[in-house]
Subunit: 332 residues, 2 copies
């Protein structure tokens, strides 16, 4: 591999001149530019971005943390982030947490080591204070996540009112007994807290009953949805909910699959609301009523915000692009 030194000697110039050329410095005569260009071509020279990074402390890759890339919500988010980052010549390093703190710490260490120049967290597992403290090493932006009382810049939608609206929609349709799924543990912090607040507020306002048997924690996949349906339909008929609010379309699909296999009807035996409006949910056996998230906008806004922080400029998130909407179909 040719180095800047090789280019310099081939062009009969000093390395600094070549370096200046590389960095589009002004004040460099045209004939030398030509000589440098020729030497580079001849040597098939590519600058070592590792060396540049060590010296200049500037990198061009950003980190993305997601819980599972196979969840379409996250793959669309990553898609938007990668596209937007590429526009500014940044690469993306992806890490899946699978809800494990350890991977999150790995990524935070990459920020500390300057392997990534900034970090978009689309999933947060660890302690807010720890995460916050890593901002010392580079900018962090939370995307579709929040942390209690933290000062980490955040790009979020109003999930609470979206869930509230969906619940009111169910109640107004006459559904009283509503089950609820969350990816989190239903403690005061953590996953899906704002969604749960919307759920609780609607319950309160509409005076709907709340049963522990109708609450399901840490459900994520369609397999989990299947298990949820197993539990619901093993309940005596009069103790079953009339509708279920799920935290993702994948879960909703699992519930539906299980029901259809048992010969139950959607929404007659159990109405289902999904979350995400994933492709194909309009094409299911029973088209899914669900909440659409502005996923591309979340990704681009988070990226622009992060890049602004990395480059010490400022960016105003356009909140008007970040609206959720209830997609009414047949399942509820």
């Amino acid at each position: 591999m040719a180095t800047i030194k090789d280019v310099a000697s081939k062009a009969n110039l000093s390395v600094s001149t070549v370096s200046r050329y590389l960095n589009h410095h002004p004040y460099i005569s045209d004939d030398k530019k030509q000589r440098i260009k020729a030497a580079m071509k001849e040597l098939d020279y590519t600058p070592s971005s590792i060396a540049t990074q060590l010296r200049s402390k500037k990198g061009n890759t950003i980190g993305i943390l997601v819980s599972r890339i196979t969840n379409p919500f996250f793959s669309y988010l990553v898609d938007a982030i990668e596209k937007e980052a590429k526009k500014s010549h940044y690469n993306v390093l992806i890490m899946q947490t699978y809800d494990d703190k350890k991977s999150e710490m790995n990524m935070l260490e990459l920020l500390k080591q300057q392997v990534v120049s900034g970090l978009i967290m689309c999933s947060v597992e660890g302690d807010p204070a720890t995460i916050q403290s890593y901002q010392e090493f580079g900018p962090i932006v939370l995307c579709n996540e929040t942390m209690r009382g933290s000062l980490v810049p955040t790009v979020v939608t109003d999930q609470k009112s979206a869930v509230y609206d969906a619940m009111i929609y169910l109640a107004d349709k006459g559904y009283q007994q509503i089950a609820y799924c969350t990816g989190g543990t239903l403690t005061n912090e953590g996953h899906g807290r704002s969604r749960t607040e919307g759920f609780e507020q609607a319950l309160l306002e509409k005076q709907l009953p709340f049963k522990k048997d109708w609450i399901f924690r840490q459900v994520h996949t369609s397999q989990d949805g299947n298990d949820v349906a197993d539990k619901i339909f093993s309940l005596p008929k009069e103790k079953r909910p009339e509708a279920i609010f799920t935290n993702s379309d994948e879960v909703a699909i699992g519930v539906m699959e299980n029901m259809l296999q048992r010969g139950y009807k959607v929404p007659q035996d159990l109405a289902i609301i999904g979350f995400d409006n994933q492709p194909a949910t309009s094409m299911l056996t029973v088209p899914l009523t669900t909440i659409a998230q502005p996923v591309a906008a979340l990704g681009t806004e988070a990226t622009n915000l992060l890049l602004a922080k990395i480059e010490d400029s400022s960016y105003e998130v356009d909140q008007s692009k970040l609206k959720l909407s209830l997609i009414k179909r047949k399942s509820a």
Copy 2:
């Protein structure tokens, strides 16, 4: 940020000793080990992986090229690769090509610059000779792709016979007029060539008719599938195909969606075969007959092969894990 030098002076040792400690060198006395450990903790020291990389020429990130991460086939592939890479403490840098050579070249340059220590190409756009030449800078593995006459290590399934089998299945069911979708351009090289060979062989053997109007190129998304259906149903009834072989479930779903909206029946008016066996395809209005790919195995095998090359050892791909299978459902 503390450096190795800071640690050394705090521990009253030379940087070399600290470096040895970092690299788990033998022959280093216990008391010094303790002093170093203490100094590191006190200074909250993390080695700069950039500096290490510059000096040692060894990195720990691998690159992945995919055409679109939102295609579930690729997100599951990335999932498998990331998990497997993580086991050996490698990070993954992802780039989407969106079928554009430029992104592919970007990634190849990252290999040249040693930003990534190796590359898994799950999508290939550029000229084989060019790609092959980049192996000089680091190992490349093709995953679910092939290149005519190239010496790039490859992990693939037998797509040709899977498509052939699916076509025979259709023919045996009585479907004679079969349309065909490809992501490529149907030239002799490039995308989906081996699938097309299976298609052609079945056509020949079963003496099925071939019509240009039934061939669709460069279709990828469900929107493309919708457009394909538009074209088919704008044909006079007697000139329409009886079945369609699509190159992905997304496309198949688009075709189906369009048909149902027009009030046509699947498979009566047009039988559909998908590709990928994506989640939810069993739950569609008309459950989709499709070809399941061993996507997790493709990912882990490609990763193990690449890591072996990076670390100069060898790995034998287990071909028995790489079988395709036809999933028979209602759509064809």
